[in-house]
């Protein structure tokens, strides 16, 4: 029993920290990912001042289509990809100058970003990466309320950006797993308050994602 455990652990270490037995992928790939995201620093602004909106962590998912830049690429190793992502967070609290109140409603962001990642590859199965993305996001505020009274509604399409870092794990020459962190932000979307005033809002998201990419 003990021998089996040692053998299994040895195999796991060899797999995780061993050297690649296959060439790095170059060319097109598709992929998908899912993970958790948390909105932070969500401050809302209108003509009377500002207040904070707090929301629950939520599932984030998305898909990617891109191109692996392998060894010999004139711009270095990395990835260029188009990414669609969906985030939807439920509002749970609204903080005003005179205290916090029960909040409700949803803040949803659908984004389309062009990402560029720089990859550090060696003979290991693990390849750390870091990159940026630029694009647009459609942010929807639906049913935002404080203690049951409406705050704002609306949809706003705004410039969006992202920075990310993480590590790829090469399962085979054409299949890679990816665990990474993303910081996503947008220009402030504008919504309409129940009294007709406009309401602007910060939108910043932190995400931890697990993904898979399949190369061709």
């Amino acid at each position: 029993m003990k021998k089996t455990l040692v053998l299994n652990l040895t195999c796991l270490v060899l797999v995780l920290f061993g050297t690649a037995a296959f060439a790095e992928h170059t060319g097109p790939y598709v992929g998908g990912y899912a993970g958790g995201n948390l909105l932070t620093f969500t401050k809302a602004y209108d003509n009377l001042g500002n207040f904070n909106i707090e929301s629950d962590p939520a599932l984030q998912y998305g898909g990617i289509i891109g191109w692996d830049l392998g060894p010999g690429s004139p711009v270095g190793q990395g990835r260029l990809e188009l990414e669609y992502s969906h985030r939807g967070n439920k509002v749970n609290k609204v903080k005003f100058s005179n205290g916090g109140f029960a909040g409700e409603g949803d803040l949803t962001a659908d984004s389309l970003l062009l990402n560029a990642y720089a990859l550090s590859r060696d003979r290991s199965l693990w390849s750390p990466y870091v990159g940026v993305g630029l694009g647009a996001a459609r942010i929807q505020a639906s049913g935002l309320k404080v203690n049951g009274f409406p705050i704002a509604e609306g949809t706003s399409t705004v410039f969006a950006y992202q920075v990310g870092l993480g590590v790829d794990f090469a399962v085979s020459e054409n299949v890679a797993l990816d665990i990474g962190y993303r910081f996503f932000g947008t220009v402030r979307p504008t919504f309409t308050e129940s009294n007709g005033q406009s309401l602007k809002m910060d939108y910043f998201s932190n995400s931890v994602l697990l993904g898979v990419r399949i190369g061709f």
């Binding site: 932070t40 620093f41 401050k43 209108d46 009377l48 001042g49 500002n50 207040f51 904070n52 830049l69 690429s73 711009v75 270095g76 190793q77 990395g78 609204v94 903080k95 005003f96 100058s97 005179n98 205290g99 109140f101 560029a116 990642y117 720089a118 990859l119 870091v130 990159g131 940026v132 404080v146 203690n147 009274f149 409406p150 705050i151 950006y161 920075v163 990310g164 870092l165 910081f183 932000g185 308050e193 129940s194 009294n195 910060d202 910043f204």
Partner: protein
């Protein structure tokens, strides 16, 4: 891709502090509707000839209350008994004659009422007090008058009293303006008497007026530029005091320079000495009052009429006094800065020649016992100038 990596890391660094929250500035007013209002008074009974301010609170759907006094319209149903007669304070109700009234407040279609009694109570005694019995000349102290009435009620009559200030060994003024009634201001050092009179009663308290205190200071010359070769740059500090007076406080404050490689300053005189090109902030402080200004020392170049010299090992030709000039790149003026420089010789060639770094002999080269060549360096404001010294027999 290295570029992408750099940009990404830069973004992460920048965004790591992005948007970190400040406290909200807005209330939920406007989102949560007001469903009712109420009038709040310190007391529902006031004596005739006295007054009190009312507060109108709005109930936001049972969730919270907010002060809506400024939005409220307040009226009395019997204005001969009590009325809102103070134009600058429309929420202050004044008792005119004994009787009962009903006060009505209206905010956005919502109303509330408050019964108020104007009593027949007469004042018995008056107490005059202040939380700050001593103030610097030019500063203020809020006095309060508290009336004790014959029905055992106690009422703040600060607004309803008439205030006077009587000069003693010092002097003060006191306001009867509705916006600042009972606010005394120290005018001259010493003690003044502050008196409040209400109806048939009056009482007094003392106000001690102290020496004026420093409120701010200005440093001159402001934002000046000077050449490196200037021996000194005198700064002055002018203080503005609580009584509005101004005084030269140059020698009673503490001076400092943020960049001593640009200029040093004498801590108790404000006399600065340029030490190199650049900009420094001249700071001055006295207690918790401070001031500052920038001093720029113009860039300059060094030169010498004798960058290479030959001397002999024997007297009288075994010494030479070197000279350094600094030329300002801003004003174009050139001056001798020999004595502002630090002089040094090659420590491995001291048997060939040495140089003095002590005034008045700065730059004086003395030949040693050996012949040969060596160097001497004058460092002026951080800028070096190297001389070649040749010693012959």
């Amino acid at each position: 891709m290295k570029f992408i990596a750099l940009i990404s890391l830069l973004f992460i660094l920048l965004l790591s502090g992005c948007g970190k929250g400040s406290d909200p500035t807005r209330s939920p007013d406007g989102f949560v509707p007001v469903t009712s209002i109420r009038i709040v008074a310190v007391s529902s009974k006031i004596a005739a000839k006295t007054s009190t301010r009312l507060t109108v609170l709005g109930n936001h759907s049972g969730i919270y209350e907010s002060d809506l006094t400024s939005q409220a319209v307040l009226v009395s149903d019997t204005t001969t008994v009590a009325d809102f007669v103070t134009v600058s304070q429309p929420d202050r109700i004044s008792g005119i004659l004994p009787g009962n009234v009903v006060i009505t407040a209206t905010v956005a279609g919502l109303t509330a009422t408050l019964p108020l009694t104007v009593s027949t109570a007469k004042i018995s005694t008056l107490t005059v007090s202040t939380l700050t019995p001593s103030v610097a000349s030019g500063l203020t102290s809020q006095f309060k008058a508290q009336g004790n009435f014959d029905d055992s009620t106690v009422q703040d009559v600060t607004f309803d009293a008439t205030w006077t200030a009587t000069a003693g060994t010092g002097n003060a003024s006191i306001s009867n303006d509705p916006a600042s009634r009972g606010l005394a201001k120290g005018l001259a050092v010493g003690t003044a008497t502050i008196t409040a009179a209400f109806d048939t009663v009056s009482n007094s308290a003392q106000l001690t007026v102290l020496d004026p205190i420093l409120q701010s200071m200005a440093v001159a010359p402001a934002g000046s530029s000077v050449d490196f070769f200037l021996a000194t740059v005198p700064f002055t500090a002018t203080g503005t005091f609580s009584d509005g007076s101004t005084k030269d406080i140059t020698t009673s404050v503490i001076w400092s320079s943020s960049q001593t490689t640009v200029a040093t300053i004498v801590v108790n005189t404000g006399v600065a000495t340029p030490t190199g090109a650049g900009t420094t902030t001249i700071n001055v402080v006295s207690g918790n009052i401070s001031g500052k200004t920038d001093l720029t020392v113009n860039t300059f170049s060094l030169s010498s009429p004798t960058p290479s010299v030959t001397i002999k090992t024997t007297s009288p030709d075994n010494t030479i006094k070197l000279k350094v000039d600094a030329k300002s790149s801003v004003t174009g003026i050139q001056q001798d800065v020999t004595d502002k420089c630090t002089w040094s010789h090659d420590p491995t060639n001291t048997l060939i020649a040495t140089v003095s770094d002590i005034i008045p002999n700065k730059g004086l080269v003395i030949a040693g016992t050996l012949t040969g060549s060596t160097t001497v360096t004058a460092t002026c404001g951080g800028v070096p100038l190297v001389f070649t010294i040749t010693v012959t027999l």
